[in-house]
């Protein structure tokens, strides 16, 4: 064929002048004998043997989490009247990169919104805990909680339905209060004051 080999598009050729050849540094006499270095290394490891252990003994000890941004199990928030806050807008389901949210919407029995979720399932095994659903939600109804103790014996058990997600809210609303209950506007004049957007206490 002759000529230059065709470089496929997208392949970046390394030019000669970009290559930097580095000589290995010469070892000093002590380094060449290796023994001082070995002994130094062994001293280091020996000292570490008596240092404070940094391991957390998990079930007994737990790491203190930064609850405001830890991304654990989801929850579905309740509004002041204890109803599910979700307006069934499908933003989270659309935003979810793992396609783990499944919503069936129905006509809302309440006056302040049109729709509400009849069914709201999240497959926690499929979820990648990216938090996109939380970002997408216009009414801050879905949130990720600091709860990470997520176990189950079957796959079915790990698909959380609406009830379960609401229960997660009940469990965790003390630890991480809902970010901004007034944001939706439909909540009317609740008697609880709005919380600062940075969220919560510990």
């Amino acid at each position: 064929m002759g000529g230059r080999a065709k470089v496929p598009s997208g392949v970046v050729m390394i030019r000669d002048e970009d290559i930097i050849v580095v000589d290995e540094p010469d070892l000093s006499a002590a380094e060449r004998l290796y023994l001082p270095q070995i002994l130094g290394g062994m001293r280091t490891t020996f000292r570490h043997m008596f240092k404070k252990k940094i391991t957390v003994q998990y079930p007994e000890q737990k790491r203190t989490l930064r609850v405001e941004n830890y991304r654990g199990v989801h929850r579905l928030n309740r509004d002041e009247k204890g109803r599910v806050a979700c307006v069934s807008c499908f933003m989270c389901e659309t935003a979810c990169p793992a396609h783990c949210i499944h919503i069936v919407s129905g006509e809302s029995p309440w006056e302040d919104r049109e729709k509400y979720p009849i069914q709201f399932d999240i497959d926690e095994l499929r979820c990648i805990y990216c938090g996109m659903c939380e970002e997408a939600c216009p009414v801050d109804a879905i949130e990720l909680t600091p709860e990470y103790h997520l176990v189950g014996l079957t796959r079915e058990e790990m698909i959380f339905d609406k009830e379960k997600l609401l229960q997660v809210f009940d469990r965790t609303c003390e630890e991480k209060p809902r970010k901004n209950p007034r944001i939706t506007g439909y909540a009317g004049t609740g008697d609880r004051p709005a919380l600062p957007p940075s969220g919560g206490g510990h």
Binding site: E24, G41, K53
Partner: protein
């Protein structure tokens, strides 16, 4: 009630004493080997600022039982296309060769069981005149476990491991033999008990004082022979998946594992007997050859055990400190580093024996120091024993960073 006197009478026969000692040793050593795995994990954890296994039982002390149960109950799979007989034999060989070295080790010197002032038995399973060579022979057979396992697996990484291991063990057996030769020449006997006794008593010192360099080289070669880091090229995970036991699982892998630790214990006991006086500690009553009571025997066994445990700790400490050698570095260390030093030392030891100064601390130690200093000087002036670069690679001449 067991008739104590009757048992004593039976034990006064060396055969039955050996049988009892062998049975006890099997139990003790299996336990120690199991706990070696526990402590390996513990020490690695401590060195890495972790806690280590602590779930099974108090402080995790029942972990070996759990490990053993896991090894036994896992599925025992044999891959397709392996060489089945050899695949099955290899772990057994590794394990048995690790275990049979213990029979010639002197655990507690001579014992007078009934206190009548007459030595009845030797606290040793077998006391052949060639005990040292027996240990060497068992050690030299140790390579078969690795080779068979690697070859039979029908896995190219396992074969690489087997070949590396063969070359490594053959290379390191030579300096090892020369170090042993130095001791044998000085002691004049191949009986392990004689070697211990020669380091004991008035005017005698442990061989490590006389020949520290030989001690150190022997230590290095034992690291190599037991395939421990920094010489664990046969199971280099980064290069060879799992090395020679890549295809092994369950109980068969467990036997390789136990065999390695048994080998380590044999090696530690070996170097203890050769250079550290075996069961002897100077100036401690009860640990002298004149004390032949039963209590002294147990004390001696305890001291021997403690020395072995110290070495085991050293093995683990080094493993979690040092990185692995490259293969050419490994070979160069043996052939160009340890072997010439050993040969010079052996020649010097023979000369000392010839002029009758082999027990003279000043002469022996002085020679060692001179050797180390000259190696230092040579090392400063010449190419290092273990270099960072491969010897035959052309020098890199290139542009420096702009």
């Amino acid at each position: 009630m067991v008739d104590v006197v009757g048992v004593m009478d039976i034990l006064k026969d060396q055969f039955w004493f050996s049988a009892g000692l062998a049975a006890a040793l099997i139990g003790v050593i299996m336990t120690v080997v199991a706990y070696c795995i526990y402590f390996e994990r513990k020490i690695s954890a401590w060195i890495q600022d972790r806690v280590g296994p602590n779930r099974v039982g108090p402080l995790g002390l029942l972990q070996p039982l759990a490990d053993g149960a896991k090894f036994i109950f896992k599925e025992d799979s044999i891959p397709a296309n392996v060489d089945k007989p050899l695949f099955l034999i290899a772990p057994t060989v590794a394990f048995i060769l690790g275990m049979i070295g213990f029979v010639v080790l002197p655990w507690g010197g001579s014992v007078d069981l009934d206190g009548d002032g007459v030595v009845d038995v030797v606290a040793q399973v077998a006391d052949p005149g060639i005990g040292l060579l027996y240990l060497l022979g068992v050690g030299s057979l140790g390579v078969y476990g690795v080779v068979l396992g690697g070859w039979a697996s029908n896995n190219k990484y396992a074969v690489f491991a087997a070949m590396r291991s063969t070359a490594q063990m053959l290379s390191y057996e030579i300096p090892m033999g020369l170090c042993i030769f130095i001791v044998v020449v000085c002691v004049g006997s191949l009986r392990l008990e004689d070697i211990v006794l020669s380091q004991v008593g008035e005017g005698h010192v442990w061989n490590i004082v006389l020949h520290p360099v030989a001690f150190f080289i022997l230590l290095v070669t034992i690291f190599a022979e037991t395939n421990r880091t920094p010489f664990d090229l046969a199971e280099a995970e980064q290069e060879l998946v799992g090395g020679y036991h890549t295809e092994y699982g369950a109980l068969k892998f467990g036997m390789f594992f136990l065999g390695e630790y048994a080998h380590m214990i044999t090696g530690s006991a070996f170097i203890t007997v050769l250079f550290l006086g075996g069961w002897h500690l100077p100036w401690v009553p009860g640990l002298q050859p004149e004390d032949v009571s039963v209590g002294a025997m147990f004390m001696k066994m305890g001291v021997m055990g403690l020395k072995i445990v110290a070495f085991l700790f050293l093995f683990m400490w080094v493993r979690w400190t040092l990185p692995r050698f490259r293969f050419d570095q490994l070979m160069r260390l043996s052939w160009k580093g340890l072997l010439p030093m050993c040969m010079i030392l052996a020649g010097y030891a023979v000369y000392l024996v010839y002029v009758g100064l082999d027990r003279d601390v000043y002469w022996a130690l002085g020679g060692n120091i001179v050797l180390v200093l000259s190696v230092l000087v040579f090392n400063v002036l010449h190419r290092p024993l273990v270099s960072g670069r491969q010897a035959n690679m052309p020098a890199i001449g290139g542009r420096q960073p702009a």
